[in-house]
């Protein structure tokens, strides 16, 4: 039990359950099957977006271009199908490759130049978004094949579970395995913990950085495709609003921006909290002017709580050490 309390995700799980129950107590419709469906749909792509940022946070960097990659992939995906009549699986494949290429560029330039990823991805954010607008001239692609649309709307049998969330759940699981059970994943966290130590151990920094960015690009691309499935159109604006939630969820999940500490499950719960909160704001008809403030306060609270926990642990360690 004591070890459970130590886990980042345990407290968050309690927050999710308690807030869910509290909302349901006041508004029973919250647990209606349709609402659960909506909740899961929103969670689906948000989850991937958060993971795309999380893996970069894991190595102690930031990726501002997550949304731009998602947007570029979204319009490529829909454009390939509409303009070039490419079949869905091939379009998915090409789109994922585009996303990974974008990620590779981010990673390669960052690793080879040694310039902060913040600046590199700020630049590529404008480059990717520029290509997006240059191609589309701000016009959405509408002719999404029925199969894609159906995929975006389908549910698993008679359950309220959207088909759309299946892939994110699988990816989340794979990401958990990756970060916790594979050598590359552990090396990334080691690198995030201490670049110097990692290099002395013999971990190749450019390999770690590039891999992380490629995965981030892949995830951003997946999110872009999912959003197209969901919205049933490929609009150039996709991705514009991802930046804030992409950081909010991992940070609420206890990630440390300096790197080396991320938790896939806690990040997923962070996504759930963000989604539940934005739903609650709609359900309780909170003054729309208030929504912004609320989100900001949430982020601040989350980091303060994490900070406090760490401070406590550090204090414990000091006492333990001196005795």
């Amino acid at each position: 039990m004591a070890t459970l309390f130590k886990k980042d995700w345990f407290g968050l799980l309690i927050v999710v359950v308690v807030s869910g129950l509290a909302i349901a107590a006041v508004k029973p419709a919250f647990l209606s099957s349709f609402n659960l469906y909506v909740l899961m749909v929103s969670t689906s792509y948000m989850l991937i977006i958060a993971l795309a940022q999380m893996i970069i946070i894991a190595i102690g960097q930031m990726n501002l271009s997550v949304g731009a990659i998602g947007g570029l992939v979204a319009i490529s995906f829909s454009g390939l199908m509409e303009v070039h009549q490419i079949s869905v699986p091939v379009a998915v494949l090409i789109s994922l490759v585009i996303g990974m290429t974008c990620g590779f560029l981010n990673g390669y330039i960052t690793a080879k130049s040694g310039i902060s990823a913040f600046i590199i991805t700020l630049a590529t954010l404008y480059i990717f978004k520029g290509i997006n607008l240059g191609i589309t001239e701000a016009e959405p692609f509408y002719n999404i094949p029925e199969t894609v649309k159906n995929f975006g709307n389908a549910k698993l049998g008679n359950t309220p579970i959207p088909f759309l969330i299946v892939i994110p759940i699988i990816i989340t699981f794979l990401m958990w395995v990756f970060m916790n059970r594979t050598e590359t994943g552990r090396h990334m966290l080691a690198y995030g913990n201490s670049v110097q130590s990692a290099e002395l151990i013999g971990i190749s920094s450019s390999k770690v950085v590039i891999t992380a960015h490629v995965i981030s690009g892949f995830l951003a691309a997946t999110a872009g495709i999912l959003v197209v499935c969901r919205l049933q159109l490929g609009t150039p604006n996709i991705g514009d609003s991802w930046l804030l939630p992409s950081f909010a969820a991992p940070v609420i999940g206890g990630a440390i921006l300096a790197g080396g500490k991320v938790d896939v499950i806690a990040t997923a719960l962070g996504v759930l909290i963000v989604v539940i909160i934005s739903q609650a704001l709609v359900i309780f008809k909170i003054d729309p002017f208030f929504v912004q403030i609320f989100l900001g306060v949430m982020i601040l609270l989350a980091v303060l709580v994490n900070r406090y926990r760490e401070y406590k642990q550090e204090a414990l360690r000091k006492i333990f050490n001196s005795e």
């Binding site: 419709a29 909740l39 604006n237 609003s241 989604v275 729309p288």
Partner: protein
């Protein structure tokens, strides 16, 4: 490399453009607020105006972002380049006035297109949609469709856009006029991006879907997302009135999930706007007794036509809009101008 290519290409465009130049030296710039599909029709409208009225140029120039400063920067560079008439969708109903004033000082006539700037202004006219009125009419249509009673929700765009406040108020006004049988149960704003719009509108549907009888949307993105949501849900009970001509909305009307949409007339705006600019540059002035309309923002308003389209006329809305445009054009000079 790419830039070089673009430069060469654009040089070619400039040259060929020069060859087609008509009798007039009017060079109109049509500047939207930012990249948005709504304005796409302006490009064709400008080209048609050059052909039909013999303008020097009428080019569609889009700011890279929805940002007042970017728009100002673009307009300034266009003037630097020799454009001598500017039609602009105001980046801000108030904030755009300053640059319009400065253009006027430089002898460049301007007009607000599609949306208005607030008076006092140096813009020669506002030719476009009365955003408040359109929202009002849309709500009226919705209330009619709901049989005069029920609960409605209003989805709209960025709160920082003053038009949003106008729209919220207009919807409230229409509801008040219904005499208490209609009630606004929720306003959701700030959803001009697709993902949050999808999240919030669907959350709303889940929580209030059973209670709500009608939805009015007064911004592009919410209209698209709400139409999509209703289509996905297969819900024909809830009546919805959208805005603009996004294909998703039009399809939903055809399929019966959306009652109708408030169409604006972007083509007509660009076409007639360019024409008017040429006339003004040619020495015409607006008549003292021109049949201006008045809106909350300005009393030099000319309606470019707001049309409510439902399932009966959704297929030929383009013709309908063209008809309106020609109608306005026919009487424009006689009604408004002293030449």
């Amino acid at each position: 490399m790419k830039s070089l290519f673009s430069i060469v290409a654009s040089a070619a465009v400039v040259l060929s453009g020069g060859a087609f130049a008509g009798s007039s030296d009017t060079k109109v710039a049509l500047v939207p607020g930012g990249p948005h599909p709504y304005f796409a029709a302006w490009e064709k409208a400008g080209q048609d105006a050059v052909k039909d009225f013999g303008l020097g140029k009428a080019d569609y120039k889009v700011p890279a972002e929805w940002d007042l400063s970017q728009q100002n920067e673009l307009i300034e560079s266009l003037v630097g380049k020799g454009y001598n008439a500017v039609l602009v969708f105001p980046g801000d109903a108030v904030g755009t006035n300053k640059i319009l004033g400065e253009l006027d000082d430089a002898g460049i006539p301007t007009a607000a297109l599609a949306g208005c700037v607030e008076q006092p202004t140096k813009a020669k006219m506002c030719f476009g949609t009365d955003t408040g009125h359109s929202a009002y009419l849309g709500t009226k249509q919705l209330i009619d469709a709901m049989g005069g009673k029920g609960k409605i929700a209003h989805f709209t765009g960025f709160l920082v856009d003053p038009n949003t406040t106008l729209r919220i108020k207009a919807v409230e006004k229409a509801v008040e006029e219904s005499g208490g049988d209609v009630e606004i149960i929720q306003v959701i704003a700030d959803i001009d991006a697709y993902e949050p719009a999808d999240e919030k509108i669907n959350a709303f549907m889940a929580a209030q879907g059973a209670e709500v009888d009608g939805i009015v949307t007064t911004a592009w993105v919410p209209a698209v997302v709400a139409a999509q949501a209703l289509t996905n849900m297969g819900d024909k009970r809830i009546k919805m009135v959208g805005i603009d001509h996004d294909e998703v909305v039009l399809e939903a009307i055809k399929a019966g999930f959306v009652h109708g949409t408030m169409l604006q007339n972007p083509y007509g705006q660009g076409y007639i706007g360019s024409y008017a600019m040429d006339k003004i540059r040619g020495g015409c002035t607006f008549k003292a007794n021109a049949p201006w309309k008045s809106t909350a923002q300005t009393d030099q308003f000319i309606d470019s036509g707001t049309v409510f389209v439902d399932v009966t006329d959704v297929d030929n809305y383009v013709d309908a809009m063209r008809g309106i445009s020609l109608e306005i054009l026919k009487t424009f000079e006689g009604d408004f101008l002293d030449c």
